[in-house]
């Protein structure tokens, strides 16, 4: 068996190139691919962060506007304050629209939840009341409309409307019972306090 120097050197050269491919080229190529992925991720994250940061002034302004709008209906007040405001609103509407408040009682039956509130954390804490008014047909309707546009957010549904006993010297009147759900913002789940506020 003869030792063929050119073939042996060619074999060695092939081995060197193969070793270089396996030990140098491929690991470095993998590192480069990883760096490209990191670059893309960093660019995406930076663009997202900058885009979000650009929205901060607009978001701040919108939040102020929304807070002002919601401030008019006091949905962020505490429970007792909301109830007091509602009672004052009912008394004011009754006085102005010439209707008598016959009854206000807390409704213990569960309130039907609108679609928007069927989330795991409810948006509103609803305070349910049954309110009975007595007065002329048009006055009762006007009183309800006034309550609806007042400074308390509430959903008012008719429970019953019936002719009232006629009193001497008075025109025809009716008794109107309403289910009222006063709305206030539920405690945020992030800082949930189980005790009633």
């Amino acid at each position: 068996m003869t030792f063929d120097l050119p073939r042996a050197s060619l074999f060695m050269a092939v081995l060197i190139v193969l070793g270089g491919y396996l030990l140098v080229f491929r690991p470095l190529e993998a590192t480069i691919a990883e760096r490209y992925v990191q670059l893309d991720a960093a660019r995406t994250a930076l663009e997202r962060s900058l885009a979000l940061a650009r929205r901060i002034p607009a978001l701040t302004a919108e939040r102020s506007t929304l807070e002002a709008q919601l401030g008019h209906v006091h949905v962020r007040d505490r429970r007792a304050v909301t109830i007091e405001r509602f009672l004052r609103a009912v008394a004011g509407a009754a006085r102005r629209d010439d209707v008598a408040v016959e009854n206000i009682s807390a409704d213990v039956s569960p309130a039907p939840l609108p679609v928007a509130e069927r989330a795991p954390t409810p948006l509103f804490d609803e305070l349910a009341f049954d309110v009975s008014l007595r007065g002329r047909y048009s006055d009762v309707i006007r009183a309800v409309r006034e309550l609806n546009t007042g400074d308390v957010a509430a959903r008012i549904n008719l429970a019953s409307l019936g002719a009232a006993d006629r009193r001497p010297g008075a025109g025809p009147q009716l008794n109107a019972a309403f289910h009222v759900h006063v709305l206030r913002e539920a405690d945020d789940s992030t800082n949930h306090n189980p005790r009633p506020r």
Binding site: G20, R55, L59, I141, I156, L158, G162
Partner: protein, 184 residues
């Protein structure tokens, strides 16, 4: 004329008859082949290393930028969540008010559209949208008119006659009950 090289190199003295040119010529191609292979590997390593270094130079400032912007991002995300909640609150309040207005308008419409010889004695509704309208009339035809008018208030609802019964001493007054289903 014969020339003698009196200044022989150590290599020539060691190998004697084997001339340096002959040795170089036999090894030239193998050495060149191996050298080329080594050069290829080295060049590859050099190029790839420069690429890695270049990418890292590009990556480092970007990562610093991402880190610096993360505080703003967090603030913006909190603001977005807060604004979304406030929007939902506003929408909920608006929906409740629309619902109340619709209910009030319905009561007003029912009362305003009563036929001349017809009056209501009781109107009841349940939260799921079912209404019961009790009334009295002196004419059967006007109860039909009442039914038709109720149907025209809300095309999506179903108005149906539940009962008509004569009442009073002479039996000329009719008690009627109309069911009105406004369930969505």
């Amino acid at each position: 004329m014969i020339r003698f090289n009196y200044h022989q190199s150590p290599y020539e003295r060691l190998f004697g008859a084997a001339p340096a040119a002959l040795l170089t010529e036999r090894l030239r191609i193998p050495l060149a082949t191996i050298g080329a292979a080594l050069l290829t590997v080295t060049a590859t390593w050099s190029i790839q290393s420069h690429r890695v270094a270049g990418l890292e130079n590009e990556l480092n400032p970007l990562q610093l930028g991402v880190h610096a912007a993360s505080a703003d991002e967090l603030r913006a995300e909190r603001l977005t969540a807060s604004v979304a909640r406030l929007r939902a609150l506003r929408a909920g309040v608006a929906a409740a008010r629309r619902e109340t207005l619709a209910a009030t308008n319905t009561i007003a419409l029912i009362g305003n559209d009563l036929p001349p010889q017809t009056w209501l004695t009781n109107v009841g509704s349940t939260p799921n949208g079912t209404w019961t309208i009790d009334g009295r009339s002196t004419r059967v035809g006007e109860i039909g008119t009442m039914l038709r008018r109720l149907q025209s208030i809300d095309d999506g609802a179903t108005a149906r006659l539940v009962s008509i019964a004569a009442t009073g001493r002479t039996g000329r007054v009719l008690d009627f009950v109309i069911g009105w289903d406004r369930r969505p």
